[in-house]
């Protein structure tokens, strides 16, 4: 919990105290640069900056969420880099992880805010209900009030997960709680969206490492996401892309195309309209990722992906024959990839417009 130790030690001092040599520190910096998707030539600059980096206070708020984002971060594995970064930040409030609850926990949050005014980071997972504050409260405080109060003295906000970034599942049609994202409420502080359901753990720590290293936030795209991780589409970085360019597609999960690892576009893969780092960073210690395991991308790092018209059906396939519509992919792969993305976006918009809700009464009538 918050105390006067915050900011007293640099990262270099912390590591030295743990018996880490300068060579070990360089290894740490090499892995950190790789994690932040920065070029290896930046390692000396990262080393110089990280050595002097001071311990920032972090307040983690969990609102309308499933705890998947925290699970992603804490359960994925225990790599040295993440450990060192989390040892080095002062995680002063995280009600899912901390033992304290109620007034004691809230007092710790308020103390951290007071002692580190203007410098602390706020990490938020989960969306915020606006329809009725009673839908989600912590220690009797509504999510909206807690967010506004906590962010008032913060340096920046990191919205972790698609719920905090874009509203996520709670925001899905018909959005019964009136859920909104952090950036729909916070307008006067920098907000970084680390979207994904859940986000890749190294992307979360990569953003924290960037703040530690450079004292600021990375460059963001038009949806507020760090460009180093969300700058390219899954489709453009997919190892199955050459099959797409050749017009070779799996049609079912057990056909010849599936066995040969062909493109999953026709099975609803949302890769062309999804921006994330899964294709290179991968999951489970870099073991694999959805497309490599034979399943199309769900598009979980994009706004409103729940309402996109279905993960497996024709929503991702434009009307008409795909081979005719995009068969020139072998000639102009990237351009056509972008065009396919546009077709997908349009198709998804149509699907959202056509979406018919089903009530319990409807189900009873048909059963």
């Amino acid at each position: 919990m918050a105390d006067s130790k915050t900011e007293t030690k640099t990262l270099g001092e912390s590591l030295r105290q743990q018996g880490v040599s300068r060579r070990g520190f360089l290894k740490f910096c090499t892995a950190t640069a790789s994690m932040m998707a920065l070029p290896p030539t930046m390692v000396p600059a990262i080393a110089a900056a990280l050595e002097k980096a001071r311990r920032p206070s972090v307040i983690w708020l969990s609102f309308q969420e499933c705890t998947g984002c925290t699970e992603s971060l804490t359960r994925a594995h225990a790599p040295t880099i993440e450990n060192l970064i989390f040892d080095h930040i002062s995680l002063d409030y995280h009600h899912t992880l901390q033992a304290a609850a109620g007034e004691g926990a809230e007092a710790a949050r308020e103390a951290a805010m007071h002692e580190n005014h203007g410098k602390y980071l706020v990490v938020v997972d989960g969306s915020i209900p606006l329809k009725d504050p009673g839908f989600s409260t912590i220690a009797g405080i509504s999510n909206l009030d807690m967010l506004k109060e906590t962010v008032a003295g913060a340096a920046a906000v990191i919205a972790v997960g698609s719920c905090a970034a874009f509203g996520g599942l709670p925001h899905a049609n018909p959005n019964p709680t009136g859920a909104v994202s952090v950036s729909e409420i916070i307008k006067d502080k920098p907000v970084v969206n680390v979207s994904g359901c859940p986000p890749i753990p190294t992307v979360i720590t990569g953003v924290l490492a960037h703040f530690l290293t450079f004292g600021g936030l990375p460059e963001l795209d038009d949806l507020g996401r760090p460009k180093v991780f969300y700058g390219q589409s899954i489709h453009d970085r997919c190892y199955r892309r050459p099959f797409y360019d050749k017009g070779l597609f799996a049609e079912t999960f057990d056909d010849e195309g599936a066995r040969k690892g062909w493109c999953l576009y026709r099975m609803g893969c949302k890769g062309p309209m999804t921006y994330n780092a899964c294709a290179t960073t991968k999951w489970n210690q870099g073991t694999s990722w959805p497309v490599e395991s034979g399943h199309g991308c769900l598009g979980c790092s994009e706004p409103d992906f729940w309402d996109g018209g279905g993960f497996y059906n024709a929503i991702s396939i434009p009307d008409g024959d795909i081979a005719r519509n995009i068969g020139l992919g072998a000639v102009a792969g990237v351009a056509v990839g972008a065009a396919a993305g546009m077709l997908n976006r349009n198709a998804r918009a149509d699907a959202v417009a056509r979406h018919e809700t089903v009530t319990v009464d409807d189900l009873e009538k048909t059963s």
Binding site: G19, S21, R23, T30, A37, P40, P79, Y239, K260
Partner: protein
């Protein structure tokens, strides 16, 4: 608690070796260009394989093509690291693992000697200090206490 690597994985169908994703060949060309640069201007190059969208078998194909050369070094700091020169002199594979044995970085360095193998100035300064203290101590045979002082670098 059971870890991921403890779960028994059964492969029902062998990976189709005839399927090539084609990511190794362009990298080999990039390495060739980097080697030429190293030879002509001494400019080193590092390729971070984490940023390459490898498919199944791509990494194996690349590493098989590069093969292993004469030098292998093991580094023990914050987990194990293995650094080896490939069959192509000047092309090094640098693999860093954490204390859990999980890979945290895999890079190809095109250089004469990877930077991390050099004794760092700060560690050298620290060594001098510790050895001086050791020789001043009455019991020269006792184990030395390590304390790193990077700021002296």
């Amino acid at each position: 608690m059971q870890k991921l690597q403890d779960i028994d994985v059964r492969i029902e169908a062998a990976v189709d070796q005839s399927v090539q994703h084609g990511n190794a060949i362009p990298l080999l060309h990039e390495i060739l260009h980097a080697l030429r640069r190293l030879g002509e201007t001494e400019e080193p190059t590092t390729i971070d394989l984490r940023s390459i969208p490898f498919g199944p078998g791509d990494e194996e194909q690349l590493l098989d093509a590069l093969d292993r050369g004469e030098v292998t070094v093991k580094l023990e700091t914050l987990g194990a690291s293995e650094i080896y020169e490939t069959a192509f002199a000047g092309v090094w594979i640098v693999e860093h693992k954490n204390t859990e044995g999980e890979r945290i970085a895999l890079q190809i360095e095109i250089t004469r000697v990877p930077e991390i193998l050099f004794t760092q100035v700060a560690d050298l300064t620290d060594s001098i200090s510790r050895l001086e203290n050791r020789l001043r101590a009455p019991d020269v045979g006792a184990p030395a206490e390590q304390s790193y002082q990077w700021e002296k670098a």
